[in-house]
């Protein structure tokens, strides 16, 4: 079932090909009390086609790490390499309201140089992939929260990146919609050879989706522990096996959080 790995250092370092390689990355920001260390010596690989979730409480710097991998910010120390420019999905859909759903996707295609004649067809295909056929001409405000995130997913897929970074993309959705989107994401991930680095603070979500769950400690963020999730897909969030591993990880997460109250 669920085997616990020791530490990130154990993972296969011989593999040359990787979707993302994060090596000894630290990040500090100027805070009110001088330099504040947010990420401390993070080392993490995402293999091609792998689905990894980064799990942690508030202040563990998981979003910071994702921004670094996305190239939106630079690490203070260490190095990050990715296989091409990664796509990024946010908690907010971040769709452009001046464009229709279809045109949002076409902008991603245009910016990576897809010729004009192919864009429309490709955008329709991507919409079909997220099961939003017919939403091409819809304005962003005409779509529901779940539909917006699916268009955002289609737009991210339109970047044709090898790595998809997701920053709590379903956190603002209601439980049923989130459940459906988990299924969709798993389906799309299995249909494509995409690697996913998925940030969440929701333990069940992490276990439901990932092949590997990486727990970060807080302030500063360090890799605390890793779990390989061998539960066969498609999983359900209420599966007993998912629940069982979630209990174990939650215990660990609680321990991490508890440590902060002690000093």
């Amino acid at each position: 079932m669920a085997t616990t790995l020791a530490k990130a250092a154990d993972s296969d370092t011989a593999a040359v090909d990787h979707a993302a390689r994060i090596e000894h990355v630290s990040k500090s920001f100027a805070g009110p009390t001088g330099q504040q260390l947010v990420l401390d010596d993070i080392t993490l690989d995402v293999a091609p086609g792998e689905f990894v979730t980064l799990l942690g409480a508030s202040g563990c710097g998981k979003s910071t790490l994702l921004n670094l991998v996305a190239g939106l910010d630079r690490p203070t120390a260490g190095s990050i390499s990715t296989d091409g420019r990664p796509a990024l999905m946010f908690q907010e859909h971040a769709l452009f309201p001046w464009l229709t759903a279809g045109k949002n996707i076409e902008l991603a295609l245009k910016l990576r140089g897809v010729p004009k004649s192919e864009r429309r067809e490709r955008a329709e295909e991507l919409l079909e992939l997220v099961r939003l056929k017919g939403a091409y001409g819809k304005r962003v405000h005409e779509l529901s929260g779940g539909m917006r995130q699916r268009v955002a997913l289609a737009r991210a897929l339109g970047q044709d990146s090898k790595l998809l970074l997701m920053d709590e993309p379903f956190a603002a959705l209601d439980a049923i919609t989130r459940d459906v989107l988990h299924d969709e994401l798993t389906r799309i991930w299995r249909e494509t050879n995409l690697s996913v680095l998925f940030v969440t603070h929701n333990v069940r979500e992490a276990v439901r989706l990932a092949q590997r769950v990486v727990l970060l400690s807080s302030r500063p963020g360090r890799v605390a522990r890793e779990w390989r999730v061998d539960i066969p897909q498609p999983r359900r969030i209420e599966d007993a096996a998912v629940a069982e591993l979630s209990v174990e990880i939650t215990e660990e997460l609680r321990g991490e959080i508890r440590r902060h109250g002690q000093h």
Partner: protein, 316 residues
């Protein structure tokens, strides 16, 4: 966030019915089931936006101002009829002003007055647009330029543009060039400032999303910043037009010369010189109507269509 998924205490004994439902859910959860569930969710949560019917628009938007104008006319006529103000050189009757309108129409000069001013105003506004837009973009995007001229630009907005008329007359003489100079000095700061505040209000999320899509530098400006700043920019244009029109009227009133042709400002000044209060009233009413008409015919529809397409128009 206290969602049910995170709470591990919920894994206690499960009653039989729930277990059965769960099993049923698992086996029935094939491809089509998920698609169906999703379609249901989409249908339930989609907002239907429709346009208001014409009749309702007429009743709620057109009727009130018509009533207000009619009321003003009634009060005006009453003031004259009941001899509250019994001096036509102070307050002409609505009929006398209407007489001016028909006279000017029959002489064929009414449209000339209007066209002289409107063509000047619009041409001046277009020039202000061509200068104010790149200027605003540079001020918004280049930090040094913003620090250098940003405060001056917003300060210029509070300077009444009529103050520019005397120097403009001295520099450029009594001709159209001077009119355009005054319009530009009035409208360029408004347009530039509108764009600057539009750019400032672009949500950082859009910029980050744009950057991950590869829209950086000029491509970012063109694909993300400009469209995102459009509502603020349009508000600036609207104000820019108001400033153009005001500046032009000030220039026309102060600097009248036979070579310049009679615009609405000169008409007002002529009315004063010939002590014809009804002509003064005619000029004021025409100035007001043109100002409102341009706003109503050009800027408001433009602004509304932009806001509507983005779902930002709140129906009242």
């Amino acid at each position: 966030m206290a969602s049910t998924e995170t709470s591990v205490d919920k894994t206690g004994p499960v009653d039989e019915a729930e277990k059965q439902a769960r099993e049923a859910g698992r086996t029935g959860r094939d491809h089509h089931d998920l698609a169906g569930l999703e379609a249901g969710l989409d249908a339930l949560e989609t907002v239907q936006s429709s346009r208001t019917p014409l009749r309702e628009t007429l009743v709620r938007k057109v009727l009130p101002p018509v009533v207000a104008v009619a009321l003003v006319l009634v009060v005006w006529q009453a003031l004259v009829s009941f001899k509250v103000v019994d001096d036509p050189s102070k307050l002409p009757s609505p009929g006398a002003v209407w007489g001016e309108v028909t006279d000017a129409w029959l002489q064929g000069t009414l449209l000339d007055y209007i066209w002289t001013s409107v063509s000047r105003g619009l041409l001046g506004f277009l020039m202000a647009l061509a200068i104010g837009t790149p200027l605003g973009l540079i001020v918004a995007r280049v930090r040094f330029v913003r620090a250098a001229i940003g405060p001056i630009l917003s300060g210029l907005q509070s300077l009444p543009s009529v103050a520019w008329v005397p120097p403009a007359v001295i520099w450029l003489g009594l001709d159209n060039k001077m009119m355009y100079a005054v319009i530009l000095l009035g409208a360029v700061p408004s347009i530039a400032n509108g764009l600057v505040s539009g750019v400032d209000q672009v949500p950082p999320l859009f910029l980050r999303a744009g950057r991950t899509l590869g829209a950086t530098g000029l491509r970012g400006t063109w694909h993300i910043v400009m469209p995102a700043a459009l509502p603020g920019y349009l508000a600036g244009l609207k104000q820019g037009w108001a400033f153009s029109w005001r500046s032009l009227m000030a220039a026309e009133i102060i600097a009248s010369s036979p070579d310049l042709g009679v615009g609405l400002g000169q008409l007002l000044e002529n009315g004063r010189n010939t002590s014809s209060m009804s002509m003064v009233f005619l000029a004021i009413i025409l100035i007001l109507i043109v100002g409102i008409a341009i706003d109503l015919l050009i800027f408001s529809p433009l602004e509304r269509s932009v806001l509507r397409s983005r779902g930002l128009l709140v129906k009242s």
